[in-house]
């Protein structure tokens, strides 16, 4: 049995030996290097561009500008294709642009023999612009006479709302409920641009292996979607594009977008099939790919004296930057979480997504939920404090329970362990005792506090998008199996749990299952890729069916070989046994050799399943945090932090723990230090490098604790639900709530950096300059 065991990652040895090959490791001798010529302004239009000097530089193979690319706008978001034209992504991008929409926009591209020549060629390009005032703040973007960043858009990419009244799932209009509430608590919350910072930058190369076939090797989360979008961008039949995904050095959503692939494909087409690579620098990767949408959210919460929340009304603005990318889908996904986390109250969520002259936002771990849940868990805290109720008790009263109806989907919540998560976290923190102990730590320069926040997330994208997964399993001559899936391993460990699933259902040892790591759209089963924490959930339904099918074929063949009925046989620990007598009949290798080489019976035993999942299991969790605030130094120190998750059955506890640690770490970064800092007048990004973008180092983190409440989710193959993204969601509001607990100061914008603490402490009279020498 492999499910629930902490088997080692299937690719761990390849990775610790340095033998795992990533895109840059698959270097082709003589490969050309392409580098973008990027805009030095945030908003404008190219008046003139002269690339003649660059073209004649020795070692330059070609220079292309916006004049040379197809006038064929395409959408870059890594969503499955939607048959419904109203649900398709916004196609607002060209391969190169004359209209400048953010600083670093791609105007031209140089192809050269090496990177030094390419850099020199870039310096030889002469350009002049018509410059417009950058539109960065919502109030400027939405002004009636504001310039339209994309013609005809009014600078709004999307807008939607949902309300319990319209959905008619529970009675009551949110405004009525707010009116009837004992108290209404209101807050405005802000989040900023943060960046994925996967250690492997965006990289792709392309070449042609035939007159009309393009091969793209790319660090992508979504090989099959890349294939479709490249074919759309270049007007080529999809079957003539082949995408290969080697090992990936992290993605976190940033590689759920088609960023470099259409360009490398275009370049190899133009250069007679020669191999061309784009390998973004860290600096380019941080501003020229995607980041997390900044949000501005207003939340009104209606609360009764007994601790019942009765109404929540939210109004959100999401900023997508220069191009739509995932567009309004982020705000829509984020807004939906209120209805699964607090399903028993009148709710209204309204959101708009705006263009702005800032770097482009796209998908990032938890897709809109970190922004929305940050706001609503801060608001929940404020509501609890309004009626003087304990933060945990208040949440226990209001959170989702099993058999509640998710307001938005109308579906019953089949598994929900959130209350137990809260109780486990509370016990771990010794909450009541610490609360009391910290009552003495609310004055002076050093203060202490506790915070909590909850989260809810989904397992995949259904019913917004199709959820399709493929699995193909074949028996090898030596009695092991190879599994091919379309689910994309990007570091999160999906290949490992796929092997565990296959081993579990086939009755084989985990070590006897090999998952083909490299994906190749010519041969890999169709799956839309790694995003939405969908893979373990969605692929489980495909792997389970394929493994069950193969098992049946194996037992049928064993029946042929032994003359016994297949239904009387089973596979136990890789051996065929008679279930009546428990007698060992043969090992898997004997069976496999027979199936391959017996001259009359058998065949290569394989199973191939493509399966659509039409459910979506909500997951839950919470963060508890204990902090010390050094007021004069404006620093928060985390003494203790834990995330507790209900993600259904935990398939691999150690690897699952790793997902939680990574999410909490990213959440702590977003809470305290991470921000792409922008000059509000020019749109210039100050800190697009790993020195100035402050993601925590080894020395900036406490021990990260985690725990699970295992529920059984009946809609998935192995009782499991999603886990990859959720851990990032709740640390920021928990930390903000702990700061409020410690100091009485609410900081309603992220990150809670020393600078922000300084301003807030000063405003609240906490910065006394004398008498704190005791620290």
């Amino acid at each position: 049995m492999a499910i629930g065991k902490s088997v080692n990652r299937i690719d761990a040895i390849a990775k610790v030996t340095g033998r795992a090959e990533y895109t840059e490791d698959l270097y082709k001798p003589g490969m050309l290097v392409a580098r973008y010529f990027r805009s030095s302004i945030a908003h404008g239009r190219v008046k003139n561009i002269d690339v003649e000097k660059a073209k004649v530089l020795e070692g330059v193979e070609a220079v292309f500008t916006f004049k040379d690319v197809p006038e064929n706008k395409f959408a870059t978001a890594g969503h499955p294709f939607s048959i419904d034209p109203d649900h398709q992504d916004v196609a607002d991008r060209l391969l190169l642009t004359r209209d400048i929409r953010f600083m670093g926009d791609e105007i031209a591209i140089v192809v050269a023999q090496d990177e030094i020549i390419a850099s020199k060629a870039l310096q030889l390009i002469e350009i002049s612009y018509d410059e417009y005032t950058p539109l960065i703040l919502p109030e400027d973007i939405l002004k009636k006479d504001a310039r339209q960043i994309h013609k005809g858009s009014s600078n709004i990419v999307g807008e939607h709302q949902y309300s319990t009244r319209d959905l008619q799932v529970i009675s009551g209009d949110v405004d009525d409920a707010l009116e009837k509430a004992d108290y209404v608590v209101e807050g405005n919350f802000e989040t900023v641009m943060v960046q994925h910072c996967h250690l492997e930058n965006h990289i792709a190369y392309a070449y042609m292996d035939d007159l009309d076939r393009i091969v793209i090797v790319s660090s992508t989360q979504i090989p099959h979607i890349v294939r479709r979008i490249v074919s759309e961008a270049l007007n080529m039949p999809l079957s003539r594009v082949r995408v290969i995904k080697p090992f990936i050095g992290g993605g976190f959503g940033n590689k759920q977008d088609v960023v470099l692939e259409p360009m490398v494909a275009f370049l190899t087409l133009k250069l007679d099939g020669r191999a061309v690579q784009i390998n973004l620098s860290r600096e380019e990767c941080m501003t020229g790919t995607r980041n997390r949408h900044p949000f501005h959210i207003n939340v009104k919460t209606g609360v009764m004296k007994d601790g019942t929340m009765v109404a929540r009304k939210m109004d959100a603005i999401s900023i997508t930057g220069g191009y739509a990318s995932h567009g309004h889908a982020i705000a829509a996904a984020g807004g939906s979480k209120q209805s699964s986390l607090y399903p028993r109250m009148a709710t209204k969520f309204h959101a708009r997504t705006l263009y702005a002259n800032i770097p482009v936002a796209g998908a990032m771990r938890a897709y809109g939920s970190p922004q929305v849940i940050y706001a609503l868990e801060c608001a929940t805290e404020d509501a609890a404090r309004k009626i003087n109720m304990d933060s945990v008790e208040f949440r226990l009263k209001n959170i989702a329970r099993q058999d509640d109806i998710n307001l938005l989907s109308g579906k019953k919540i089949l598994s929900c362990g959130l209350a137990d998560c809260l109780l486990k976290g509370k016990a771990f923190m010794d909450w009541d005792k610490k609360k009391k102990e910290y009552e003495k730590c609310k004055s002076g320069p050093i203060r202490k506090g506790l915070g909590v926040a909850c989260l809810s997330y989904t397992s995949g994208t259904y019913p917004v998008c199709v959820e399709i997964a493929g699995a193909r399993i074949s028996l090898n001559q030596d009695g092991t199996v190879h599994v091919m899936v379309g689910a994309t391993e990007i570091g999160q460990g999906s290949d490992t749990i796929v092997a565990q699933m296959a081993a579990e259902t086939l009755g084989l040892a985990y070590e006897h299952v090999r998952v083909v790591q490299t994906q190749d759209t010519d041969v890999s089963p169709f799956d839309t890729g790694a995003y939405a924490s969908r893979q373990a959930y969605v692929v489980s339904n495909a792997v389970f069916r394929a493994a069950a099918d193969l098992k049946k074929k194996i037992l049928d063949h064993a029946g042929l070989m032994t003359g016994k009925k297949a239904r009387d046989l089973n596979i136990i620990n890789g051996k065929i046994v008679d279930t009546h007598t428990n007698a060992f009949l043969m090992d898997m290798k004997t069976l496999a050799i027979d199936s391959f080489y017996h001259k009359e019976r058998g065949c290569q035993l394989t199973a191939d399943v493509s399966h659509k999942t039409t459910t979506n299991a909500p997951v839950f969790g919470c963060t508890f945090v204990d902090i010390t605030v050094d007021i004069p130094l404006c620093k928060i120190k985390i003494n203790k932090i834990i995330n507790v998750h209900d993600s259904g059955i935990i398939l691999n506890p150690v690897q699952a723990g790793g997902q939680v640690h990574g999410g909490v770490f990213m959440g702590i970064g977003a809470a305290l230090s991470e921000e792409l800092m922008i000059n509000p007048a020019t749109g210039y990004i100050y800190n697009n490098n790993l020195l100035d973008y402050k993601f925590p180092t080894f020395m900036d983190l406490p021990q990260i604790h985690h725990d699970f409440v295992e529920t059984f989710e009946p809609t998935s193959g192995y009782g499991n639900k999603s886990l990859g993204e959720p851990p990032v969601i709740s640390p920021p509001p928990a930390i903000r709530n702990a700061l409020l607990d410690a100091t009485g100061v609410s900081i309603n914008s992220l990150p809670i950096s020393p600078h922000k603490l300084f301003t807030a402490f000063k405003k609240n009279g906490l910065m006394v300059s004398k008498g704190d020498a005791d620290v």
Binding site: D11, I13, N201, G250, V654, F695
Partner: protein, 160 residues
């Protein structure tokens, strides 16, 4: 003036003489001239540590180390750590403790741990010392938690 120079050095215990472009970093020579692609480039400016290797047993970022400086030196990279089909103690600890996710930072981290544990195996080491000795390596996947455990296990191989 040609930019090529001859250098001789030992790579994972074996001597090599190469005719290299002096403009290259050690990382580029390892990856492009020797096909040793285990060390990765994550930033190119010494901020992430993914390119860490040992030069005469000293941990360096090979992306900001001129290849010509490697002349007459002993270079150790991730490729030389597993021997005779067996992982090094540090590598095994990373596997066992679940310290590997996307794997891009892993070779650099393992070289940092290898450098660190060579100095302190069996000694009493604090968590702070472990954190400090690995602060030049960034990881975006693990929150460093299981890496911490792997380093502890590398120092005290017998402790389970």
């Amino acid at each position: 003036m040609t930019t090529f120079r001859e250098i001789t050095f030992s790579i994972n215990g074996r001597p090599r003489t190469l005719y290299i472009d002096m403009r290259k970093s050690l990382l580029e020579v390892l990856r492009q001239d020797l096909g040793l692609t285990g060390a990765k480039q994550g930033c190119g400016v010494g901020e992430c540590g993914a390119c860490s290797v040992l030069v005469d047993e000293v941990l360096v970022d090979s992306c900001i180390y001129l290849a010509i400086w490697a002349d007459n030196k002993n270079i150790r990279t991730i490729e030389g750590e597993a021997k005779n089909g067996k992982l090094s103690r540090v590598q095994q600890a990373y596997v066992d403790e679940g310290a590997v996710q996307c794997g891009f930072c892993t070779p650099g981290f393992i070289m940092a741990t290898t450098s660190f544990t060579q100095k302190c195996t069996g000694e009493k080491i604090t968590e702070d010392e472990i954190r400090k000795s690995h602060a030049g390596n960034l990881c975006r996947c693990t929150g460093y938690q299981n890496i911490l455990k792997a380093v502890e296990k590398s120092i005290h191989p017998d402790k389970e």
